[in-house]
Amino acid sequence: MALSPELFRALGALCEPPDPAHARLTEALGLPGGADAEAHTAVFVLQLVPYASVYLGPDGMLGGRAAERIAGFWRALRLRPPAEPDHLAALLGLYASLAEHEYAEAEPARRLMWRHARRTLLAEHLLTWVPPYAQAVAATAPGFHAAWARLLTGALAAEAQELAAPPSAAHLRDVPGPPRPGDETFVRALLAPARSGLILTRADLARGARETGLGPRAGERAFVLRSLIDQDPAAAFGWLAAEAAGWRKRHDSAPPGVPAGHWADRAESTRRALTDLHHAAMEMTHVS
């Protein structure tokens, strides 16, 4: 049986800034506690911004070709793209309204068109990034947001099965290759999830510094990561290789119906490259 579209709209609304009206949503969804402004900021503003372009784009940055492609999807539906067409709340809201149109449509051919649009949105613009994104939220955020992320993954997975979403997606076909050691954009590529298969937040990097005993430096993520590598390449690459292995496992355990092949392949390539670097750095350390 198809899920009520309202579920997706409600899940999307919860990544908007906290509002008293969220209390009702939280209750209906059965989520534990509530999101206060601080937790919201930590998750959605500081650690894991909910924009598709960050997780699908070649640089791991907001906007660009990925956002434009999504805006094009809105336009193809003859809708004016909102200011942030690739925001998760906008995408889930759109998903809900496409489903509502489909269910309200009496004419079979039109109904099929709505369904096709929804399937495309799901396959191209949601399943391509939301499952790993939600796993990152579930892994790093406290109870409320972790539960939200699990519910979201479950709901999307159910839809993927219901609609038999195809695995290939244009976004991921266009992603440049995995991070290549020796390449000067190596660190940037590591931080671009679609290229590396890894989602590394600020909090992850701070944890990496703690676990390796290295000094965390304040700055943007690329700067922090570079400084860890500069301080102790062997330790830093070792930690990163372990992170990549962890991500590989997470991708492998994606729920049925969620195509995770691209992500698992990339995480594995990255793990191998990092492992090589780790070994090379170890040797250098021993030589010197």
Partner: protein, 972 residues
């Protein structure tokens, strides 16, 4: 743990339950597809949770924002328990603003709750300008003012009564009040604002404003900062963005990097005053490459009239005209425009190509900006509209329409006749073609002895602060011989009110009635402004007949005020005034606002009675509930409409196809102002124009066509400007002395409201200062760094402010926003907006004035705890005081740009210092006056002014005749 299906079903059910209770399930208008916007069915009882999850039940009552001209819809959330306004949001039922507002709209709440607002009528206690006040009753103030006006009217001194308006309320309302008194006493701010741009449009179309259809355009060309600071900030901005989202190209001419410029596909920063040269280069390109719409030009331009006047005896064919047209503009090459503007020829060529590609989907707009800055600025809008006229992008989808076709002014219950007098203080004989009153010259006219004022109303206007040369205003206003009584009608304290005899508090946007209509897309709508608490109480079954009963303190509204005042001027009706303010239903009683608007909505707004009846409401109830009504959309090219055969009975054509008919006009419900072309010699009225054999409505110009050639300009002394052309500005580089720069002072801060913002705390926190924009290349030689004090010297004085070093301004040009720089004289015990006004010492020695800042603003205790949280102290500098008046000799527009010198501040200079010599100011006035060509020497027909031109409060025809020997004629 419940399954997904169960959770999903629960969410659906929860939303349905919540909606059924009239409450909101999703928070505010968010990315979730406006799922939460209050549906209008629930506007009587809408429930929201506050931050502590307490429920609040509100009535949603519409009104119209009063914080700029756009008249966007607002929805007041009136708390059902306390009957106070909790907040203002947009009104989704408003066809112009479509539920959206700029920051100034919701800040209406700050104006309502301003702890420093004026709550009762005040009368000065000491000398005028001394700053001491006593509270008086409305009766006392009304009786005093009414007696003086009555004495002036009955004593044959009607020209001593003047009403001077800044932000107009309802179109024509106060003009009709003055007409009912028989007084030519209307004075507006328009000549310091938009009359330059208006003149350019008016000479083309007989209508003085454009209505660009931005949403439908492929290319948008703005000579203004419309997106963030223009007149149509929000309604136009949202449509510009709609067009951009569709892929339209935005071209912006602005010497300063405005927010609008940051959104442009092509932004150029030309030398100020060179805009018309660039536009003519684009026009030349269109003509030379044959990209103009030949058929449109042939059918609609008055080229035959031009050929007859300027090329008599030559063959009058269109082909001949086209050849001449090419020759006329041949000199305006891209290279010429580049030399004038400093913008590369290749860039101008690219823009010209973009314009050429727009076809009939070119929307253009010029308002204030270059038209308000330069000598000859009126030619900027004229040259801009030339592009539309060349491409046929006139009243097309995506083109620019004349505003009157996209505006609806409903005929009111009473229409008093034209005054029979002519006021030389506002319409002096030197400026026969000025589109609006020469308002900013008033102090000089008074000082020269051209007249005096018995009663002067300033109304939502602050000439001391807004106008150039404000200290000449202070000199005139403090002279009780020149101004017998000054009544300031204002919701807030302002620099002009300090020099009043009475301060009469009038309501802000949610506390007064008005009907508005503005051109914002190709359609016609009306918006209703109403005291929201009055409407809320009416919904609860109460009857309110006096808006003072619901407004704070004794704050009133003008509609009721003017009726009351008119009755007191003519208590027994013997002057013929009272009848215009009487009830039609109950003769002998005062007209109420309910009857006034009830009558208007019932009889003069097509479609409204039917829409109201469909909901079981009266038209007035409908407007009180929804606040706006769309009469028509997709009006299209009115000039192409065929004139009905019945109107053409006995009609005759003149030599150029203008068609005149003896059939009298049938008054329609829409009284939107347009020009009134003259009848023919037999008294037949112009009804249309013959185009290829068919009589079409055409334009309200003498020729009935688009007037490429203005016979009016040619005949009234300005033949050299009879065609769209380029006039070198008073700040053209060739006119500057070595070391002088151009100062641009015309731009706004998009979150301020001239001086009406007063204590709008949210807005003041956003914007409270106005530094001098200066390019690094100009700052470096002066040794000036960011934040350093600089002294800017004008012709009549100087001001001292901080430098803001930025590449967002053209080198050689500096800029300072005309917002901010509010002040209050030290020693004034009452008054002054304490969040934005510095306390100053204002001193005068002979003709030399100085202003020195004692302190900026600081936190203070009040009814509003936020006033203790004021963190800013700097409130900007009042530069306008140091500007001489610079009236354009044709349009009458004050030419704002200044030639200045910028120096690092000296040891004696302090932030906010102002020095002005009003003798020099008067000399500057005389110098600009000498540029004029007055009607006594140049009128072709013995009148003061071409009768066909638009004019607020048009007097009767007889009043247009020049006196044989003017008793108090021009002092030149």
């Amino acid at each position: 743990m419940p399954g997904l299906e169960e959770i999903a079903a629960r969410v659906s059910a929860a939303r349905q339950d919540t909606a059924a209770r009239g409450e909101t399930f999703y928070p505010g208008a968010s990315r979730v597809h406006l799922a939460a916007f209050p549906p209008k069915e629930r506007w009587d009882d809408w429930v929201e949770l506050d931050a502590r999850r307490r429920e609040h039940r509100s009535m949603l009552v519409p009104t119209t924002c009063f914080n700029c001209e756009s008249a966007c819809g607002l929805l007041a959330y009136v708390d059902r328990e306390t009957l106070t306004v909790r907040k203002f949001e947009g009104n989704p039922e408003h066809p112009g603003s479509r539920g959206r507002n700029c920051a100034k709209g919701p800040a209406t709440l700050n104006q309502v709750t301003d702890p420093d607002r004026i709550l009762a009528p005040l009368k000065r206690a000491g000398a005028r300008g001394e700053g001491r006040w006593t509270q008086v009753s409305w009766d006392e103030a009304l009786d005093d003012i009414a007696a003086r006006i009555r004495a002036a009217i009955t004593g044959g001194r009607p020209n001593e009564v003047m009403y001077h308006v800044g932000r107009p309320g309802e179109d024509g309302f106060t003009e009709r009040v003055l007409a009912s008194w028989g007084v030519d006493g209307h004075n507006s701010h328009t000549n310091v604002c938009s009359s330059g741009a208006r003149a350019g449009y008016h000479f083309w179309t007989g209508i003085d404003r454009p209505s660009p259809d931005h949403a439908g355009a492929d290319v948008i060309l703005l000579i203004s900062s419309h997106l963030e600071a223009g007149h149509y900030f929000n309604p136009h901005a949202q449509r510009v963005m709609d067009a951009k989202a569709r892929g339209a190209t935005l071209i912006v001419f602005d010497t300063r990097l405005s927010n609008t410029a940051t959104h442009a596909d092509h932004w150029i920063a030309p030398q100020p005053g060179s805009e018309a040269a660039i536009l003519l280069a684009i026009a030349r390109h269109l003509i030379a490459t044959g990209r103009h719409d030949r058929e449109f030009v042939r059918r609609w331009w008055n080229w035959r009239e031009y050929l007859a006047a300027e090329h008599p005896g030559e063959e009058a064919t269109f082909e001949r005209f086209e050849r001449i047209l090419g020759e006329l503009y041949a000199e305006y090459t891209f290279e010429f425009a580049a030399a004038e503007s400093g913008v590369a020829a290749s860039v101008i060529a690219r823009i010209a190509e973009a314009v050429a590609g727009a076809g009939t989907r070119l929307s253009t707009h010029n308002w204030r900006s270059a038209a308000a800055g330069n000598l000859g600025g009126w030619q900027v809008s004229r040259c801009l509209f030339l592009l539309n006229c060349l491409l046929g992008a006139v009243a097309t989808e995506g083109g620019t329409h004349p505003n009157a076709w996209n505006k609806f002014v409903p005929r009111p219950i009473h229409m008093p006749g034209h005054p029979t007098t002519w006021n030389e203080l506002t319409w002096p004989v030197e400026y026969p073609l000025a589109l609006n009153e020469l308002s900013f010259l008033l102090p000089h006219f008074l000082k020269e002895g051209r007249g005096r004022l018995e009663v002067y109303f300033s109304r939502v206007y602050n000439p001391v602060w807004t106008n150039p040369d404000g200290l000449s205003w202070v000199e005139a206003l403090t002279d009780t011989d020149l101004v017998g009584l000054h009544a300031a009608l204002t919701p807030t304290w302002n620099e002009t009110a300090y020099f009043a005899d009475y301060i009469l508090p009038m309501g802000v946007g949610s506390e007064r009635h008005d009907v508005h209509s503005y051109e914002q897309y190709d359609g016609q709508w009306i918006g209703f402004r109403q005291p929201v608490l009055r409407a809320a109480r009416a919904r609860l079954g109460e009857t309110v007949t006096d808006t003072r009963d619901v407004n704070p303190g004794q704050v009133w509204e003008e509609n009721e005020f003017w009726t009351e005042l008119s009755w007191r001027i003519d208590p027994d009706g013997s002057l013929g005034i009272r009848r215009h303010h009487e009830s039609a239903a109950r003769p002998g009683e005062k007209l109420t606002v309910d009857e006034y608007y009830g009558h208007m909505f019932e009889h003069s707004v097509p479609g409204l009675p039917e829409a109201a009846a469909a909901e079981g409401r009266t038209p007035l109830e409908y407007m009180r509930r929804y606040g706006a009504f769309e009469i028509r959309s997709g009006v299209g090219p009115v000039h192409e409409e065929e004139v009905p055969a019945g109107v053409l009975d006995g009609a005759v054509d003149d030599a150029f196809g203008r068609v005149y008919s003896p059939v009298p006009p049938v008054p329609g419900p829409n009284i939107v102002p347009v020009a009134t072309p003259e009848p023919d010699a037999e008294g037949r009225r112009p009804v249309g124009v013959r185009v290829d054999g068919v009589v079409r409505r055409g334009f309200p110009t003498p020729s009935g066509r688009l007037e490429f050639y203005s016979r009016t300009l040619a005949e009234w002394g300005w033949p050299e400007h009879a065609l769209p052309g380029y006039i070198r500005s008073h700040v053209h580089p060739s006119a500057l002395e070595p070391g002088q720069k151009v100062l641009i002072s015309t731009f706004r801060l998009p979150t301020q409201i001239h001086t009406r913002g007063a204590n709008a705390k949210w807005l003041n926190e956003l914007a409270h200062t106005n530094p001098l924009w200066i390019h690094p290349d100009d700052a470096a030689p002066l040794g000036v760094a960011m934040g350093d004090l600089v002294r800017v010297e004008t012709e009549i004085g100087h001001f001292v402010l901080k430098a803001w070093v930025t590449e967002g301004i053209r080198p050689g040009v500096v800029a300072c926003s005309h917002h901010m720089g509010r002040w209050k004289p030290a020693g004034h015990t009452d008054g002054g907006p304490r969040q934005v006004a510095a306390t100053v010492d204002l001193a005068k020695a002979g003709d030399r004035w100085s202003m020195h800042r004692r302190r900026g603003v600081e936190p203070y205790g009040s009814a509003d705890p936020d006033t203790r949280r004021i963190w800013w102290g700097d409130v900007g500098v009042h530069q306008n005081l140091t500007f001489p008046v610079q009236p354009d000799p044709i349009s009458g527009q004050h030419c704002w740009h200044q030639a200045v010198r910028v120096r690092p501040a000296g040891p004696g200079d302090a932030y906010g210092d102002i020095a002005v010599d009003t003798a020099k100011a008067h000399a500057a006035y005389r110098r600009w006056l000498a540029r004029t060509r007055d009607a006594t020497a140049h009128s072709p027909d013995g009148t003061r002014r071409p009768y066909w031109l638009m004019r607020p409060l048009k007097p009767s025809r007889d009043a247009y005749l020049l006196a044989e020997e003017p008793a108090d004629g021009p002092l030149t």
